[in-house]
């Protein structure tokens, strides 16, 4: 392989990216060295097994990926603003929508949600950490190196360009030579393994580590949604693992699972992909429902209306989400009976979803609604998600879907559910739980600016796309001609996208501004919260709870406050707390995964094998590891508790 093939060349945009990547790296190394922060980085972050720090790292990565995916989106919108634009050529456009879609779903939405669940779930159930802290660190680092591997593709070797769905035969060697789709297969595999382990970890955590008294039906709604999400992950991700493995064999070793020759079945890929893919969208939407439930009930100052119905409806949605996948290819010609079946199962999801919408509305009713930034995101979710939801039902009607499929109508629909559902939820959760992560509150004024810019921009960007779809504009077109009459709506859409971009910049500025000047949260309970995470200090002590709380009601902390006692810590009852030790191994093993993956992408098998040996070595070392953690002394707990003002 020549160097000119190894590094992507010929595009001014790419050279600019090369330069900025190198400069950023030099910058980071310089800052770390200058401020003597290497040791801090290693001890506090790279080796940590603390669920809160891991959560923070997930969220930082997700925001970075939102930036990357957002830049991709803006480039696409720039290209589509006017007919016959020459800003991006088709190859470049194809790479960009592929990376945009893949990154937004797998490296933005997923880690954002997983980050929030890492921070919040153990706190909500009154636990000191997750069930397997070491595994949790491995999960994060595998996700992280998977994301990095995927992200370097555009400067080293070339990006995947067959869509985030990577349909065969297009994604096979025959039509997609080069390493781009190898990156897709390998990077998703590595981070997918991390996600699967997260699913197992949190399932066990929620089932086994709840505080005494917290029965299943007293769990906060967010924890419930995470529990169900874990079940979805555990059933869905192995399918992706297998599909990607077969894809890897096809691409690296010329097997013929999905190719056109020798009995390969390209539709098998489409089926496997969506058997994972549809539950996947529920993996990012159910936790969002959980976040909205928490925020809405806190800022309406009311218990969640119809808690039980809410629980049953998430279970129902989760079940149905496994029997709807064919709605992604009604047009394959599987026959009217098959299509009718999947039409009906898909429409059925609207029922439990509708139940949830009304339950949120009735939680608000008779409440005392405070319009904080977190609440604004949660409220805006309702009307916007309803628009996405009803158009989803329209798409579910097979005979009509033949007209919407693959058009901008579909693009509008899934952005309405993914952005108004998941992205709004991530922003709501970020503002809501920010004090728990960093000890200060995100500035509300700037937060509201972000909200209005982004929310209005979002509608201006995506609402016209429904109509572009009805005009016959199909997804993944890199340009269009003037005579089609698509220009005005495309201009409108691009204006909206720009507003969203500005909203994102304000959010980033807010993070900086609040870190410097933000209001510190001394109480640990800035919003008058209802669940146990608000019984801890902000930021949360390393061990979460000095004594494990006792749960008597659904809104456990609210009940403690109402009964006048609050969450009191009796210093007499303190005992030394056992905590797991840090370990550098998860990070190092994941680095080995990165090189193994990189070797596979380029078919440099020697590198892949050497890296694999290191991975196995890491596993062996782990099994001989007899470090079973350490104890935090009562004195130290007392000191910490007094400092944070929570202790007596």
């Amino acid at each position: 392989m020549k160097w000119s093939e190894f590094f992507v060349t010929g595009e001014p945009l790419i050279y600019a990216a090369d330069v900025s990547i190198v400069l950023t790296m030099i910058g980071i190394v310089f800052v770390l060295t200058y401020f003597k922060k290497w040791k801090w980085l290693w001890n506090e972050w790279l080796t940590t097994v603390d669920h809160k720090k891991i959560g923070v790292m997930y969220i930082i990565s997700a925001v970075l990926m939102l930036f990357r995916g957002g830049v991709d989106a803006l480039l696409m919108r720039a290209q589509l603003t006017a007919p016959n634009m020459k800003f991006l050529d088709s190859q470049h456009y194809n790479e960009i929508f592929t990376t945009h879609g893949t990154i937004m779903i797998l490296f933005m939405a997923m880690p954002f949600i997983i980050g929030l669940m890492n921070i919040v779930v153990p706190l909500q159930i009154g636990a000191r950490d997750v069930a397997y802290p070491y595994l949790n660190a491995i999960s994060f680092w595998l996700f992280f190196v998977g994301a990095m591997l995927f992200n370097i593709a555009f400067v080293i070797g070339g990006s995947p360009d067959a869509g985030w769905t990577a349909y065969f035969p297009l994604a096979g060697n025959e039509f997609s030579p080069g390493v781009g789709n190898n990156y897709y297969a390998v990077a998703l595999q590595i981070s997918g393994i991390g996600t699967l382990m997260t699913g197992i970890n949190f399932l066990v955590t929620i089932l086994k580590m709840r505080a005494p008294g917290m029965t299943l039906m007293r769990m906060p709604m967010f924890t419930w949604t995470i529990l169900i999400t874990c079940v979805l992950i555990i059933f869905a991700f192995p399918v992706l693992t297998v599909a990607l493995a077969l894809m890897t064999f096809d691409r690296l070793f010329d097997t013929q699972f999905f190719t056109m020759a020798n009995g390969g079945m390209s539709m098998l890929w489409a089926n496997l992909f969506w058997i994972w893919g549809h539950p996947e969208v529920y993996i990012v939407i159910l936790p969002s429902f959980g976040i909205f439930s928490e925020v809405v009930s806190t800022f309406a100052r009311k218990r969640l209306f119809g808690y039980k119905a809410m629980v049953y409806s998430i279970v129902g949605i989760a079940f149905l989400s496994f029997i709807v996948w064919v709605h992604h290819f009604f047009t394959m010609g599987a026959g009217a009976a098959v299509n009718s079946f999947f039409s009906i199962t898909t429409m059925a999801i609207a029922v439990p979803t509708g139940v949830k919408i009304f339950n949120w509305l009735f939680t608000l009713r008779k409440g005392r609604i405070r319009f904080t930034t977190a609440m604004l995101w949660s409220l805006a979710f309702i009307p916007n998600f309803v628009i996405g939801g009803v158009t989803g039902v329209m798409l579910a009607m097979a005979a009509a879907d033949y007209q919407y499929h693959n058009s901008y109508f579909l693009i509008a629909h899934f952005h309405y559910v993914l952005i108004a559902g998941t992205v709004f939820a991530c922003f709501a959760g970020l503002h809501y739980w920010y004090p728990k992560m960093f000890g200060h509150i995100l500035n509300e004024r700037l937060g509201k600016w972000t909200f209005w810019l982004f929310m209005i921009g979002f509608n201006i960007c995506f609402f016209p796309m429904y109509f572009l779809g009805l005009m016959g504009m199909t997804r993944r077109m890199y340009t269009y001609s003037a005579g089609l009459g698509w220009t005005p709506l495309n201009v409108v859409a691009s204006v909206g996208a720009a507003l969203m971009g500005i909203g994102f910049i304000v959010l980033c500025y807010n993070i900086y501004y609040s870190a410097r000047y933000g209001e510190r949260d001394m109480t640990g309970d800035p919003w008058d919260g209802r669940t146990l995470e608000w019984a801890t200090s902000s930021p949360v002590a390393h061990y979460n709870f000095a004594v494990i709380p006792e749960v008597k009601d659904l809104d456990a902390y609210w009940e403690m406050k109402k009964s006048g006692k609050g969450f009191e810590i009796d210093e007499e009852k303190l005992k030394p707390i056992h905590m797991p030790s840090n370990s550098g191994r998860p990070f190092l093993i994941s680095i080995a995964f990165f090189f193994a993956g990189f070797g596979l992408v380029f078919k440099w098998f020697t590198l892949a094998i050497i890296a694999a040996v290191f991975i196995i070595l890491g596993l062996i070392l782990r099994s001989f590891d007899d470090d079973d953690g350490y104890y935090i002394s009562v004195d130290e707990i007392k000191r910490t508790e007094r400092l944070t003002g929570k202790g007596a």
């Binding site: 218990r303 047009t331 039409s343 919408i357 339950n359 008779k366 609604i369 309803v386 009509a400 033949y402």
Partner: protein
């Protein structure tokens, strides 16, 4: 102030709707020119009715609740009641969506079954084989023994049975004004019935991404009166050149081509629906098949 903003925000979709009324003549899906598209149009309109109803109900409830129960001076000390739920209400808002879904499911199932068959029984359908290749559409009329590239003429008021297949990546055959799309897949055959009920020119395109020049993979459907159509067929049979195997191979090479017309069809020697195009085998080009399986050179795939 906030309240105003909220109202404004909820008006946003509406104002966009107004803006759109200007572009409505371009909304091809909503301008059906045949019974298939008409069936789908009716279904779409039926569903939009219900959807607007749902949107209105939710938006109104939403606005009322926010306005009435927001924190405002005088309500600072109001302590919300602790309600657990309300079984009756919950049954109501489970039952109504079930009714709506049923009202949508019944016509959906009917339409889905109906679209599998020609829209009229009395007229014998015209069969046209459609072959999608990177990045062009090839139409073969077996009964008339003619072939066209990137355009297709059809008679009005006659159901047309398109038999779809593909050489290479999966494409999707879509003529919005005549009816919804269907996939064309390599080594497989799918069927799509369409019909035009007035003469005219209708845009068709590939709706499923197939790589580099996918965007330009368009075709025109020209619906003619039966007489005009028959005249055209005769003319083609008499004047158009013959398609040779060699010529056909060049057409299949990845790239864009203009419109073409031939007085025979490639079905004489190959039907990609029956045979995996990949191993069409016998043609000269594939003598280097072994090379293909060692190196991943793109050149080879010009079959």
């Amino acid at each position: 102030m906030k309240q105003k903003m909220w109202k404004w925000a909820s008006l946003l979709p509406l104002s966009l709707l107004l803006l759109l009324s200007g572009c409505s003549e371009n909304m091809l899906v909503l301008q059906p020119k045949g019974p298939v598209a008409k069936t789908q149009y009716d279904l779409i309109m039926w569903s939009i009715g219900f959807m607007l109803l749902i949107i209105v109900v939710v938006f109104v409830l939403f606005t009322v609740v926010l306005v009435r129960y927001r924190e405002k001076p005088g309500r600072d000390n109001y302590e919300p009641p602790e309600e657990e739920g309300n079984t009756l209400l919950e049954i109501v808002w489970t039952a109504i969506p079930i009714l709506i879904v049923t009202a949508l499911a019944v016509p959906t199932v009917k339409a889905t079954f109906a679209l599998e068959k020609p829209s009229q029984k009395s007229v014998k359908p015209l069969t046209i084989h459609v072959t999608a290749a990177n990045w062009k559409w090839i139409f073969s009329y077996p009964e008339q023994n003619i072939e066209t590239v990137n355009y297709v003429n059809i008679p009005e008021d006659v159901p047309v049975k398109f038999k779809l297949t593909s050489v290479g990546p999966m494409s999707s055959f879509w003529v919005p004004q005549l009816g919804g799309q269907k996939y064309a897949m390599d080594g497989m055959e799918t069927e799509l019935f369409l019909e035009a009920d007035e003469p005219g020119s209708y845009m068709g395109r590939n709706a499923n991404f197939t790589g580099k020049d996918f965007t330009h993979m368009e075709f025109e459907v020209v619906a003619q009166t039966k007489d005009d159509f028959n005249k055209w067929v005769k003319e083609v049979q008499q004047t158009a050149p013959k398609l040779s195997k060699g010529k056909y191979e060049t057409i299949l090479k990845p790239g864009l081509v203009g419109r073409m017309t031939f007085s025979n069809t490639h079905l004489e020697w190959i039907d990609h629906a029956k045979q995996n195009s990949h191993h069409m085998g016998k043609t000269e080009e594939h003598s280097e098949n072994t090379k293909h399986h060692e190196g991943m050179d793109m050149e080879h795939h010009s079959h």
